[in-house]
């Protein structure tokens, strides 16, 4: 098992013919991902790394049975691309694109909910279930098949942590990059629930950042609903206070959002915290 994605995912890549699309279709195929189609309007009939290109997602779904989409299109076209995928019946959408206006993200995150689809991102590196599939731009070389679940708001920092786990022989069930934007489709809580149910996952690593209350919300959820051991690293403990959104931000946050508040919340939930990103592997080894 694994969470969210496995061997059953048949992938269509939206924005397949650009530089990133061509490169990552190759990388994903090397990892074992079943890439069945690409979409770029006006380029039907071509192929990229032996993957057929279609004009629209509906055609791709009809012809290939694709059930999962990877969004690599530029920010200003991303909302349209996600809506198109959801309307074509795609049930798992991974949005890599960064700098998407957050009003667009709010709309497509809600639409995904109504369509009963899983949406990961935006502004994320994607998701990998080692030995099964990778939907995204995470470097394939760092992964090892195993029992640690990883959920992260960061990109490179995740690779660093996964790499140090793999070097110690602790493989991963699934590693999901949730995305660094204020509005994301899949939260720590969604990932924790999925890892809790997943038989393969024995321990969970969360990689958080300052800003927002996702870590505090996750900590509350862990106390009530999660039995598996959870480990965490929080980046930005010494960063200057981020932009404050008028009084409104302070009223919503009520003192949450800082590194200190997140650390306190995790400690209360008995989550083991790492001082350095590369320490996570030692902690997991020691406590699980």
């Amino acid at each position: 098992m694994a969470i969210f994605v496995d061997k059953k995912n048949k992938l269509v890549v939206q924005g397949a013919t650009g530089h990133q699309g061509v490169f990552h279709i190759g990388e994903m195929k090397n990892f074992g991902t079943n890439v069945v189609a690409g979409v770029t309007p006006g380029k039907a009939g071509q192929d990229v790394q032996s993957v057929p290109i279609f004009n629209d997602v509906m055609d791709a779904v009809d012809e290939t049975g694709a059930n999962t989409s990877l969004i690599l299109v530029p920010a200003r076209f991303a909302k349209d691309a996600v809506f198109e995928a959801l309307d074509a019946g795609i049930k798992t959408v991974v949005v890599i694109t960064e700098n998407i206006p957050f009003h667009d993200a709010m709309e497509f995150v809600h639409y995904a909910k109504y369509k009963d689809a899983v949406l990961i991102g935006p502004n994320c590196p994607g998701i990998a279930s080692p030995g099964k599939t990778k939907i995204g731009i995470l470097p394939g070389s760092i992964f090892l098949e195993g029992n640690v679940g990883v959920a992260s708001r960061s990109g490179t920092l995740t690779y660093e942590i996964v790499n140090s786990l793999s070097e110690k022989g602790m493989g991963q069930s699934t590693c999901v990059g949730l995305g660094g934007d204020p509005i994301i489709g899949t939260s720590f809580i969604n990932a924790l629930d999925a890892f809790e149910k997943d038989k393969e996952t024995k321990a969970v690593v969360l990689v958080g950042e300052i800003g927002g209350t996702a870590e505090e919300d996750a900590a509350d959820h862990i106390i009530e609903h999660i039995g598996k051991p959870v480990f965490a690293f929080i980046a930005g403990r010494t960063a200057p206070p981020g932009k404050r959104m008028g009084h409104a931000g302070a009223i919503i946050a009520r003192g949450k959002g800082t590194a200190a508040s997140k650390i306190k919340a995790f400690e209360k939930a008995d989550v083991k915290l790492a001082q350095f990103p590369t320490d996570i592997a030692d902690l997991v080894e020691k406590y699980s």
Binding site: M106, L157, I183
Partner: protein, 368 residues
């Protein structure tokens, strides 16, 4: 992008939201044409200007001239006042608070309103602030507005005025891709009509491409930060003396944290992102040199980005243009061995672990 109060009010005007009669004052001669008494307000992109002396009322022209000269050019929390807005005083019957912002947890726009507006809204208890979430796919509906307005103890004609303002503000929030629209205080006048006495408007930077009518404002940035922004490099100046270059925002933050652990202090946060383009690496180092750190700490993890490609870019800049401070590097990931050889060859210090590199950088910078 945060808009100055007067620019936020220009937008309010566009949406037919009442604001007091006012004008921007660039020099003393602009002080005529408004009715006395009026208020002179420093235009700065930060809260707390009232307490800092940036808001003063003027009774007559001489008074206005004196107050204007006091406010213009003053420093408010690090921002020099370069713009002053003059606004006629209005009578106030009630002061409310109104804002629309995004709720990250619910992923929805959140309307907040309180009958206790004014200076100290953050200390108003939660049960006196009424909240309503709007489904972004269907937009604001009458029931949303009824839900919040009914909780305020208002008279009938006041309710109508406030309801109209909420719907106009939501329209503006949506159409201008706002992160925040805040009015504090939103006042009710004796005739029951509502008026915005202040404005705090933040437009989502990522959506600026569809708002060409809004001129960009980089007032919150330092000169080097502006330069970096134009080059598309994520660069933030901090108050320490170690320049950090890393790839990815999370890793860059974690690097600053590691320095703090060894009592070092970051002076620059430079996130290279996913690039290994030699031209970008060169620009990044040039910016870093201009910030004059005591030590540069380069922390890279190569995944898709190959370490040796970045290292080649670094070596090219350093051999060509030289560097006048120690550079400590810590490289991990794809092609790290090749990268280390290249950096050693360029005369840079290569550390083995993040801890080692952070400790050496902090020691060399001599603490904070």
């Amino acid at each position: 992008m945060k808009l100055f109060e007067y620019r936020g009010k220009e937008l309010f005007d566009k949406y037919d939201i009442a604001v007091p009669n006012g004008k921007l004052v660039n020099s003393e001669k602009d002080l005529s044409g408004l009715k006395f008494p009026f208020v002179l307000k420093a235009q700065v992109p930060i809260g707390g200007r009232g307490k800092a002396g940036g808001i003063k009322s003027a009774e007559n022209l001489n008074d206005a001239k004196e107050k204007f000269s006091q406010i213009m050019g003053m420093d408010i929390k690090g921002f020099t006042v370069k713009k002053v807005y003059a606004e006629e005083k209005v009578e106030i019957k009630k002061e409310l608070y109104l804002s629309i912002t995004l709720d990250r947890t619910k992923r929805m726009p959140l309307i907040m309103i309180s009958g206790e507006g004014g200076m100290d809204i953050e200390s108003v208890p939660d049960d006196k602030i009424f909240k309503e979430w709007v489904n972004p796919l269907i937009g604001i509906q009458s029931f949303n507005i009824r839900n919040v307005v009914s909780k305020l103890k208002l008279e009938k004609e006041e309710v109508r005025g406030i309801a109209k303002i909420i719907s106009k503000i939501y329209k503006m929030f949506r159409e201008y891709d706002c992160e925040l629209v805040e009015i504090n205080p939103l006042i009710i006048r004796s005739d029951g009509s509502a008026m915005a006495l202040d404005s705090k408007v933040t437009i989502n930077d990522d959506a600026m491409f569809r708002h060409s009518d809004i001129a960009p404002e980089l007032v919150e940035l330092t000169a080097l930060e502006k330069d970096a922004k134009q080059k598309g490099i994520s660069f933030i100046q901090l108050d320490g003396n170690i320049g950090v270059i890393a790839n990815g925002a999370g890793l860059t933050m974690a690097t600053l944290d590691a320095l703090t652990h060894y009592e070092g202090k970051g002076g620059v946060f430079l996130d290279l992102g996913g690039t290994d383009d030699p031209e970008k690496v060169k620009q990044a180092f040039e910016l870093m040199k201009k910030a004059k750190p005591k030590v540069i700490f380069l922390n890279l993890f190569g995944g898709i980005t190959k370490c040796d490609t970045v290292a080649k870019g670094v070596k090219a800049v350093i051999t060509k243009e030289g560097i006048d401070c120690p550079v400590i590097t810590r490289i991990k990931g794809m092609n790290e061995d090749a990268a280390k050889d290249i950096l050693k060859d360029a005369g840079l210090i290569t550390a083995t672990t993040l801890q080692d590199a952070a400790q050496r950088s902090s020691d060399m910078a001599g603490g904070a």
